[in-house]
């Protein structure tokens, strides 16, 4: 094996943001887990390549899995109050403005986007730390968006959350046993004397010494603390985990362990993940399906290969081009980096039409007038752009005019009826709108 880690992976060099370590091309033994168990034994006898193969493959997409959570047109507006004696509401921060997606059972969907685009708010809406302004979140026949806190309580067992900062997410005055066992006590699931065995079992699952249940969080390192947080989230055997940047606060080697642990957990307990992250490489490894958010809206959603290989939205392309690429450095090629000009517009007063138009190099008049629908343009690919196209092949004229019944400038054509038959459902339809032929096609 050569020293070049990229030589092994067969990825198209043109692929935007490809990173060999995360591409999942290697055939690895999926039974070997390095999150716990195996790594406790010595690994000195192995050379580098076999050691590297102890790692985890990227998660695979199961296209037929039923949805465990269906988010439809979810909205969260935070009121902005005026200062002074009478605090009137003078506006709303439209943190999340009508997003729809599905989380498949036992699968995972990644949510990426820049800071302040509403990723974390989405996670907090699903765990009902906030009550949504509008929309629905169907989970096992219940609409999480409409339940009161009291009605929500039994469902909290099934929807749990992993937090970003392992230093603030654990109560410093409680022992690990108390922290991990608290959900059991709150929900009165097991008698008091059965709490400890369950806690120790969970600690073992996340790769900590079960004898350490009576220690305090300050005695653990960041990675260990994050494992404690994961153990707490697992205590109630949830069906769905919201991971809000679970590895951002950890250093890179620990990130790998935690991500591998999460993959093991997903495989073992069939947990669905909503994975919120900044790190595109980790999302690529962990999530077979990815949604890209910009200013409170999903601009592009699709499976891993599509989003990373053939992104159609200018924002996704810009985002991916910003990823530092080892392979580019190795082959000496220079990749075009798309620089976005200006700042993110204020979510209190977002731009009309397409929200990305103020920073988009392809923006035309139609973008200001008509908001692009989240259009399904592939089997598992939706994009919200009037000029959707692969990098360097964006069409000169809007692709959505016929569907919306408008002309190229975005003005309504008299007499024309919108032919858009696609309902913006959270999942994917059997048929989609082909950008090349401008026809609705199927498989």
């Amino acid at each position: 094996m050569t020293q070049d880690p990229n030589a092994e992976a067969q990825i198209e060099p043109t692929e935007v943001g490809a990173n060999a370590a995360e591409s999942g091309e290697r055939q690895l033994d999926s039974d070997v887990s390095d999150a716990y168990g195996s790594h406790e034994r010595g690994v000195d006898g192995l050379d580098f390549s076999s050691l590297a193969d102890l790692g985890h493959t990227a998660s695979e997409l199961d296209p037929d899995a039923p949805a465990v959570l269906t988010v439809d047109n979810l909205k969260m507006y935070f009121p902005v109050k005026s200062s002074g004696l009478v605090r009137r509401t003078i506006g709303h921060v439209q943190a999340v403005d009508g997003i729809s997606f599905e989380v498949p059972q036992g699968g995972s969907i990644g949510l990426v986007g820049e800071s302040g685009c509403g990723k974390s708010t989405t996670g907090r809406l699903i765990t009902r730390l906030y009550k949504p302004t509008g929309g629905s979140m169907m989970f096992e026949g219940h609409d999480l968006a409409k339940l009161s806190n009291r009605e929500m309580k039994p469902l909290r067992r099934d929807v749990q959350m992993i937090f970003q900062d392992p230093y603030t997410s654990l109560n410093p005055r409680h022992t690990v046993g108390t922290i991990v066992g608290a959900p059991l006590e709150v929900h009165n699931i097991v008698p008091k004397n059965k709490v400890l065995p369950r806690v120790q079992e969970l600690l073992e699952v996340v790769g900590l010494n079960p004898e350490h249940y009576n220690r305090y969080p300050n005695e653990f390192s960041g990675g260990q603390r994050q494992r404690i947080g994961i153990a707490r989230a697992l205590t109630l055997n949830p069906k769905m985990l919201v991971a809000d940047e679970p590895v951002s606060a950890l250093d890179v080697s620990i990130q790998a362990q935690v991500v591998n642990l999460l993959q093991d957990i997903q495989r073992e307990f069939d947990v669905a993940f909503l994975f919120i992250a900044h790190d595109l490489a980790i999302v690529r490894h962990f999530c077979p399906e990815i949604a890209v958010m910009y200013l409170g809206k999903i601009v592009e959603i699709g499976d891993r290969e599509t989003i990373y290989g053939r992104p159609h939205h200018p924002y996704t392309q810009a985002l991916l081009s910003a990823v530092p690429d080892v392979k580019q450095a190795a082959i000496g090629g220079r990749r075009e980096r798309i620089r976005l000009e200006g700042d993110v517009p204020s979510p209190i007063n977002p731009p009309s039409g397409c929200r990305f138009r103020t920073r988009c190099q392809f923006a035309q008049e139609i973008c200001a007038k008509v908001e692009p629908p989240l259009l399904q343009i592939g089997k598992r690919h939706k994009v919200a752009c009037h000029f959707a196209g692969e990098l360097g092949a964006h069409p000169a004229t809007p692709v959505t005019t016929e569907l919306l019944g408008v002309d190229d400038q975005g003005s309504t054509v008299p007499g024309a009826t919108p032919t858009n038959t696609q309902l913006t459902i959270p999942g994917y339809e059997k048929t989609w709108y082909d950008l090349g032929t401008k026809q609705t096609t199927g498989v």
Binding site: R124, L129, R156, Q160, M161, T168, N171
Partner: protein, 344 residues
């Protein structure tokens, strides 16, 4: 790669505290967590000033608790016979020479001498005065901090209208001048209860109430501020996500994190209340039956007695100053011991 780094990570030698000890010793093998409070306690034990102050405070506590037995040990009591047996009426009511200083030599019958004019035994009154001082200060501090903690917790955590109303009350109580209110309340209470049998008990209870009613605002503000910062921490959100009821979040999740400010506020409230109690008794609006350091000071602070019999003033003064000073220093030391522990 990850397999290598995972090993020591999970096997873990976990303490953040640097430990300089033999890794094979019995102590190192024992795995049990040290709570942040225990670590702080260890730090406190290494602080010489704190240990000294704690000993002084302990001395006063023993004096207060065992005031009766100690008095008996010295053969003194609060009961005084005929005053003329003890004091010389012709000499400004100063004690007779056989009663000890200032006119005679030290005598074991009255180790701290007797009071001029009344002939009361100073040691007995000093011991019982210590008991009154500490009882009133402690119960007032407990009441005030309980009220303060609950109001601070609720107002900080719930926010919104509840916070507005409670903050208004905090501010309102802060605007009332304490001394004026106490001076106004004393005659009202006197008028109301001076015929009742247990007047002195009622007097003490009302003093505790007055001290507590005007002492809780500082704690409430402190706790409210702490809660405002704590409630945004992720562990509170984690508790919410797991469906923990608000009362449990307040008292099981937040309250343990407030141990440091609560202990500090109590330990600084105590000396303040000891001093206030003495001050009020001196002004004649606290305990008025004489068994109080403040009343002893009031009696002694006459130019004639101070010139001829300064010990009479020094005894209660030393008591108040030593107790207040050591409580204050101890409170500071406790704060220092707890403070750096609140890392992250």
């Amino acid at each position: 790669m990850s397999a290598e780094t995972a090993g020591p990570e999970t096997l873990g030698s976990l303490s953040n505290e640097p430990e300089h000890q033999d890794p094979n010793s019995q102590q190192a093998k024992e795995i049990s967590g040290k709570s942040p409070l225990r670590i702080a306690l260890g730090r406190l034990a290494r602080d010489k000033v704190a240990v000294l102050c704690a000993l002084v405070v302990l001395f006063f506590i023993i004096c207060a608790v065992f005031a009766g037995p100690i008095s008996k040990l010295f053969g003194v009591s609060l009961d005084t016979g005929l005053a003329s047996e003890y004091v010389d009426g012709l000499n400004n009511g100063l004690p007779k020479p056989e009663m000890g200083p200032p006119n005679g030599p030290f005598t074991w019958d009255h180790p701290m001498g007797v009071a001029p004019r009344t002939g009361q035994d100073n040691l007995a009154y000093w011991l019982y005065g210590c008991r009154v001082s500490l009882t009133i200060a402690t119960s007032a501090a407990i009441f005030a901090s309980t009220v303060g903690v609950v109001i601070g917790l609720v107002s900080g955590f719930l926010g919104g209208a509840v916070d507005k109303v409670l903050s208004f009350f905090i501010d309102m109580f802060l605007t009332i001048p304490f001394l004026l209110a106490a001076l106004t309340l004393a005659p009202i209470l006197n008028e109301r209860f001076n015929t009742s049998d247990n007047y002195s008990t009622i007097q003490k209870i009302s003093l505790i109430c007055v001290l507590a009613v005007f002492g809780w605002m500082g704690t409430a503000r402190l706790i409210r501020g702490e809660v405002l910062s704590l409630r945004e921490r992720e562990f509170v959100q984690a508790a919410r996500v797991m469906g923990m009821p608000t009362s449990r979040i307040l008292f099981k999740e937040l309250l343990p994190n407030l141990a440091a400010p609560i202990i500090i506020s109590i330990s600084l409230m105590l000396p303040a209340f000891v001093a206030l109690e003495a001050g009020l008794a001196f002004l004649g609006i606290g305990v008025t039956d004489g068994v109080s350091w403040g009343q002893m000071i009031l009696d002694a602070a006459t130019p004639v007695y101070f010139r001829d019999y300064p010990q009479y003033l020094w005894q209660p003064m030393v008591g108040v100053v030593a107790l207040v000073l050591s409580l204050n220093l101890l409170g500071d030391a406790i704060r220092d011991a707890l403070d750096p522990k609140t890392r992250r």
